[in-house]
């Protein structure tokens, strides 16, 4: 069962005491035009996902944690030990690389035994330990197989076993599911979730896929342009996205503005009526499914939020059609194929969009 650590929520960047368990890092890496500057803390048992678009600096952060990319500044402590200057080979860190990087000339067993061997175990002991790990991963019969004969899911598990066999205090996973096809992915994601649940130290995974992040991690850290833009539980972030990127990820229309009672006056221009009563800077969000489209201005509608738009693009989204609308308020709307046909939607067509106040969600910025 998942062990939920009982600990007060730490604010990022707060230095922990020297005996504090888990990860306490402030990673600063300067690389010419790009600068990574993120704080990251996690208690043993935590699974933290670094989520962000490509080029946000997630992999750089992971490499910095592993010691493969040197820190320009900041700090890195694991279970109270300063790792800032520790070479990667001496860090109690295990890494599952994006395409696994299993050594092609070694069998699955020898791949897993490699770490224990390097950390001083005898040949027989290392292989026994490796066999145990493969057994645990359900790969006992593939011990003698070379990586190129393993399926994607098997290779992923061997990579995980290889990383875990050194008993790391910090497990790093770089896009652990990206190399898999959609069908295998589902199954491997569930397995990985079980293995991460059983892992007693800190795990940090990097992904650009929100679903992977939400299924696998207890806590999400959203990184954009080298900075943390939001962090929290998956549910929290899904409900209260703070950037366009996250909103798009979780499938919400998100706007920023100033709340005055039940109205949020958006920076972009129009106002949105909400049910929440707020004042000051605020976000307002609503899902694309809450938007109703009309060819003519709706008169009998109870919706208080009505905007004139034009269709900017259409794409199939499951059994629905998602319309990207431009105009007073850029937004995304989901509708059925039948509705789309009735409305005669095509790029450039004028439409009216309406959203009920009850379906919006406003929260302080």
């Amino acid at each position: 069962m998942r062990r939920v650590p009982e600990k007060p929520e730490k604010t990022p960047g707060t230095p922990s005491g020297p005996t504090a368990e888990g990860l306490d890092a402030h990673l600063v890496v300067d690389r010419g035009a790009f600068r990574l500057d993120i704080a990251l803390t996690a208690a043993p048992g935590d699974v933290v996902a670094l989520l962000g678009p490509n080029g946000a600096g997630k992999t750089t952060a992971l490499r910095a944690l592993a010691g493969l990319t040197p820190l320009t500044a900041g700090r890195l402590r694991l279970d109270g030990t300063d790792l800032h200057r520790t070479p990667p080979a001496s860090r109690p860190v295990g890494v599952v690389f994006q395409d696994y990087l299993l050594f092609p000339h070694l069998t699955a067993l020898d791949n897993v035994a490699f770490g224990p061997r390097c950390r001083g175990a005898g040949k027989a002991a290392a292989r026994a330990l490796a066999a145990e790990w493969l057994e645990r991963m359900g790969l006992a019969e593939h011990a003698g197989t070379r990586p190129r004969h393993l399926s994607g899911g098997q290779a992923q598990r061997v990579a995980l076993a290889r990383a875990l066999a050194t008993h790391p205090r910090l497990l790093l996973l770089d896009e652990p599911l990206a190399a898999l096809d959609a069908r295998t992915r589902l199954e491997v994601r569930a397995q990985l979730r079980r293995h991460l649940d059983a892992f007693e130290a800190v795990a940090v995974l990097v992904t650009h896929d929100p679903l992977d992040a939400m299924v696998l991690a207890d806590r999400l850290v959203v990184v954009e342009h080298g900075l943390v833009v939001q962090e929290g539980t998956p549910a929290d972030i899904a409900r209260h996205p703070r950037t366009d990127y996250i909103a798009r990820l979780v499938g919400l229309n998100l706007y920023r503005g100033r709340a005055e009672g039940h109205t949020v006056r958006l920076d972009a221009g129009p106002a949105v009526s909400t049910t929440e009563h707020l004042s000051g800077p605020a976000f307002v969000a609503f899902p694309p499914g809450a938007v109703t489209l009309y060819r003519d201005r709706p008169t009998g509608s109870s919706a208080r939020n009505v905007w004139q738009c034009a269709v900017a693009g259409l794409e199939t989204h499951g059994d629905q059609i998602r319309a990207e609308l431009a105009g007073e308020l850029p937004l995304a709307a989901d509708l059925t194929t039948v509705a789309a046909a009735e409305l005669d939607l095509r790029p450039g067509a004028p439409v009216w969009a309406a959203v009920k106040a009850a379906q919006t969600h406003a929260y302080p910025a």
């Binding site: 493969l68 050594f103 390097c118 990383a163 050194t166």
Partner: protein
């Protein structure tokens, strides 16, 4: 590899008629002919009748043995220092790396005789380094079998370094990183991960270096001189035989040719099977 290759062959069956375009085939065959005709001429003009007599001369076998021993030792020496050098050029970051790479390839363009003179000036009894070897350890290298090995190494090692460096550049350096995160030192990562990964490139480089060392003439005769059984390798014997007895020279060339072909074909088979 074997199963992998078979699988890919099944996936892309060879279609007859859709093979080689003429624009490639014609120059390819011309190139092949250019390489093979001189060898064919050697076979055609060989003194087949006197061949058995030529080949029973112990001097021939002495030269052949010396050639094989020296070329193999030179290749081993090239491997021991050349592979690390290639690694340095491919993986380490240091100022002037481009210049060092250019310098490493210099012996490729240097006429071998000039290489021999350079070795004499460096390692000779009176050479920049050689005079100290002589004074401190009583070691003189010219006119010795060691000298032959050094001359061959000087000429052959660049081939190995270039070949291995190319393979290293093509190899994914992240495997070394993966090994590092598992606790391997950089040397362990090199020995247990990188080296097995680049083994085919190292083997190809070693074969190239061996072949070059086996045929080495200019640097050897200039640096190590010519003394039967000690420094007279096959190419030297061939050259000197050519002065007085062209038939004997052709016979010796044939022996050298046959042995090289046998060794290279043998290595190729074994190497193909191993990978």
């Amino acid at each position: 590899m074997t199963t992998g290759r078979q699988a890919s062959r099944k996936a892309h069956p060879r279609t007859p008629g859709r093979g080689v375009p003429l624009a490639l085939l014609v120059p390819a065959l011309l190139g092949l002919a250019f390489l093979l005709v001189p060898l064919l001429a050697l076979l055609l003009r060989a003194p087949w009748r006197s061949l058995p007599e030529q080949l029973t001369s112990p001097a021939v076998w002495e030269a052949l043995r010396l050639s094989l021993v020296c070329a193999t030792t030179a290749t081993a020496l090239s491997l021991v220092v050349g592979v690390p050098l290639a690694w340095l050029l491919a993986r380490a970051d240091f100022p002037g790396r481009g210049l060092v790479r250019a310098l490493v390839t210099l012996p490729l363009v240097l006429p071998p005789v000039v290489g021999g003179v350079a070795l004499l000036l460096a390692l000779g009894r009176n050479g920049v380094v050689g005079q100290w070897l002589d004074a401190w350890f009583g070691i003189t290298l010219p006119f010795t079998t060691t000298g032959v090995v050094l001359a061959e190494t000087f000429v052959a090692m660049p081939f190995l370094v270039i070949s291995v460096e190319g393979t290293l550049r093509a190899a994914d350096p992240r495997y070394e990183e993966a090994a590092t995160t598992l606790g391997a030192s950089r040397f362990t990562a090199f020995r247990r991960v990188t080296l097995p990964l680049i083994a085919p490139g190292v083997a190809a480089g070693a074969v190239l270096a061996w072949a070059r060392a086996l045929g080495e003439f200019g640097a050897t005769i200039t640096f190590a001189g010519n003394f039967p059984g000690r420094t007279q390798t096959m190419p030297l014997a061939v050259y000197l035989a050519l002065q007085s007895d062209p038939a004997a020279a052709i016979a010796l060339s044939l022996v050298l040719l046959a042995v090289s072909v046998a060794v290279l074909a043998g290595l190729r088979d074994r190497w193909m099977r191993a990978v």
